[in-house]
């Protein structure tokens, strides 16, 4: 069977605070196969970005990974020391961030910043690095690559800057690209262009872990999707099946809220209550207080992931049931 690009099992990240601490990522497991785009979706504060940062080893202190395993083509990243991990970052494993306004060094021309990525991993001359940078720019659809590479970040528009970020990430042909809300700060037309670019990269064999809070973007781009809530994956499955037959009450709530926007005039569907603050999770299933199906079992313990059909895994005792 083809080697999976990325396998995360039981990943846990915890942050100590003077009130006992909390776990933004709690026992998360997911797999990204070769040439597949996996979506990680959820509302603010659900831990999707933290999961991505854990894979890249970019978790800022005082947070640290306190459990689980992350295999990149069979290699456990958590077991690597600093040097080994650094040789992977930007080379076999790359990341694109959310806000193009602040993700580039403001005092260095963008071309130089991409060359840096090449020179860190490939023993090539500066001239060769320049050539590859311009080629990378063209691959991501940046016109007048020569002029743009000499300009500073503040001289480029948001869309262009995000393309530079993608060029920087792709320049060493990584096995896995992690994209943390790459289109959230962009307008809808620029977003569509970036999503188009992502599809082309997937067709050329790059596996992508795509993080977003926008269900529309996830539906249009991802082959497989994981819905996160309060640090756990509530439900994961093939995107088409997940959108048509969601079984977890939270996924249903989200999809209901988004689709009700298209039904004119009626009151919009909402999910009652609000996301629990990270430190004060309710006992048992974190979605309990906001869930119509919640009963004693839900309040008692946190449901374990159950595979209800091939590839379709859910953490809920009453998966699929409809509130009476």
């Amino acid at each position: 069977m083809e080697q999976n690009t990325l396998e995360i099992s039981h990943l846990t990240v915890s942050f100590p605070t003077d009130r006992g601490g909390f776990r933004p990522v709690n026992d998360v497991s997911l797999t990204v196969r070769k040439g597949q785009i996996v979506g990680l979706v959820g509302e603010s504060g659900c831990g999707k970005s933290m999961t991505a940062r854990a894979v890249m080893g970019l978790i800022r202190s005082p947070g640290k990974v306190t459990g689980g395993q992350i295999l990149l083509e069979g290699k456990d990243l958590l077991a690597l020391n600093g040097k080994e991990m650094r040789s992977l970052r930007g080379n076999e494993l790359a990341m694109v961030f959310q806000d193009p306004m602040t993700s580039l060094n403001p005092v260095v021309p963008v071309g130089k910043q991409v060359e840096e990525a090449i020179l860190l991993h490939r023993r090539v001359s500066r001239e060769e690095a320049r050539k590859r940078t311009l080629e990378a720019f063209r691959n991501v659809g940046i016109s007048e690559a020569e002029k743009r590479s000499r300009s500073y970040p503040h001289e480029l528009s948001g869309g262009l800057r995000q393309r530079v970020m993608i060029a920087m990430a792709m320049v060493c042909c990584p096995r896995l690209l992690i994209a943390d809300e790459p289109t959230t700060a962009l307008d809808v037309i620029m977003e569509a262009q970036i999503l188009q670019l992502m599809r082309q990269m997937r067709d050329r064999g790059t596996s992508i872990l795509f993080i977003s809070h926008n269900l529309g973007v996830i539906a249009q781009l991802c082959d497989y999707t994981c819905v996160m809530y309060a640090g756990r994956i509530a439900e994961q499955g093939d995107t088409r099946e997940l959108f048509e037959r969601p079984v977890h009450p939270y996924t249903r709530g989200l999809l209901g809220a988004v689709s009700s926007l298209d039904r004119k005039g009626e009151e919009l569907e909402t999910i009652r209550g609000s996301v629990p603050a990270p430190g004060s999770l309710p006992a048992g299933c974190p979605f309990g207080p906001r869930c119509g199906l919640c009963d004693e079992t839900c309040r008692g313990a946190c449901p374990e992931p159950r595979e209800i059909s091939p590839g379709h895994i859910v953490r809920c005792f009453h998966a699929g049931e409809v509130p009476v």
Partner: protein, 310 residues
């Protein structure tokens, strides 16, 4: 860009003129007849009258002011009453000493300051951080004359490693440079640390680490480059402050710099000398501020190549 430059130059000129006017008012108008002030106790009326005519103090205020401005531009600051030498000449000699002291103090301050600041930021909340920041805060809090006294008492007086005061050779500049420099080092270290800590939170630092940069690589190629902007500005301001004469240090280590000259001018109630030294020092500070702003514009491409996205 050019328009901004011109308006900044205009501001400096206005400031300089304003300083000249303020000084003129304070030294010539407020204390009554400057000649009487200069003569002090032993001046009888005839001598005061002669002095008044000689300095042209009997003309109307405005003509005095314009003649005074004219003189300043032609470098003629009048002759010092107490030292009976042209003020310009006195200042020329004094400035050299101030220059040496300033450069020595600046060098000491900046090397120590930047090193401590960077280490404190990298080892945030570690022992080194608390140690360096404690010493920096001491540097900023200790009165210069106390540092000078401690150095003179222990190193010069007790251990005889260095001369207590005077200006024979480069050795006698070490202690004053340390006394003067420790304060600037303190503020540089604190600024470097807080700027660096802010920058290390920025998103582009994560991008650099995501590219595979090592912690050191991120610090040198990305963090420090951005941190230098505000630090270089502060250093330029400090240098102009040092060049305008360190009154206390020069007095205590009896180095004949601009600062000490000013003190002598005050105790000798020598108005032309005082006016000259203060005007000179202020001009240096204004130039320093101008230089700091220009340096910032040159270093920061966002300002140099202004305008929004093309």
């Amino acid at each position: 860009m050019k328009k901004k430059l011109l308006s900044r130059l205009g501001q400096s000129l206005i400031a300089l003129l304003g300083v000249a006017l303020l000084l003129f008012l304070m030294l010539r108008v407020v204390p009554g007849n400057p000649a009487a002030v200069m003569m002090g106790e032993h001046g009888d009326n005839a001598a005061i009258a002669r002095m008044t005519a000689e300095l042209g103090l009997d003309q109307p205020i405005l003509t005095q002011f314009f003649r005074y401005i004219g003189d300043c531009f032609t470098g003629n600051f009048g002759t010092s009453y107490s030292l009976s030498k042209p003020v310009a000449e006195l200042m020329g000699g004094a400035f050299l000493n101030t220059l040496w002291l300033a450069l020595a103090a600046a060098l000491f301050a900046w090397i120590l300051g930047i090193a401590c600041g960077v280490i404190a930021a990298v080892r945030k909340n570690g022992i080194l951080d608390h140690l360096f920041m404690g010493v920096s805060l001491m540097g900023v809090s200790i009165p210069v004359f106390l540092t000078a006294m401690i150095l003179q008492y222990f190193i010069a007086f007790r251990l005889h490693w260095l001369p207590i005061a005077g200006m024979d050779g480069w050795k006698s500049f070490i202690l004053p440079a340390i006394a003067l420099g420790w304060n600037s080092a303190g503020s540089v270290a604190r600024l470097v640390r807080s700027t660096l800590l802010d920058i290390l939170q920025e998103d582009y630092i994560d991008t650099a680490r995501a590219k595979g940069r090592s912690q050191l690589g991120v610090l040198v190629f990305h963090a420090l480059r951005n941190a230098m902007l505000p630090v270089v500005t502060m250093m330029a301001l400090q240098l102009s402050g040092l060049l305008s004469g360190a009154v206390i240090t020069e007095t205590m280590f009896s180095i004949n710099g601009i600062g000490r000259l000013a003190v002598q001018a005050i105790s000798g109630r020598d108005i032309p000398l005082l006016q000259g030294t203060v005007l000179f020092s202020t001009a240096v500070v204004i130039l320093g501020n101008l230089g700091a702003d220009l340096l910032y514009t040159v270093l920061d491409p966002r300002i140099r190549k202004g305008g929004g996205p093309q």
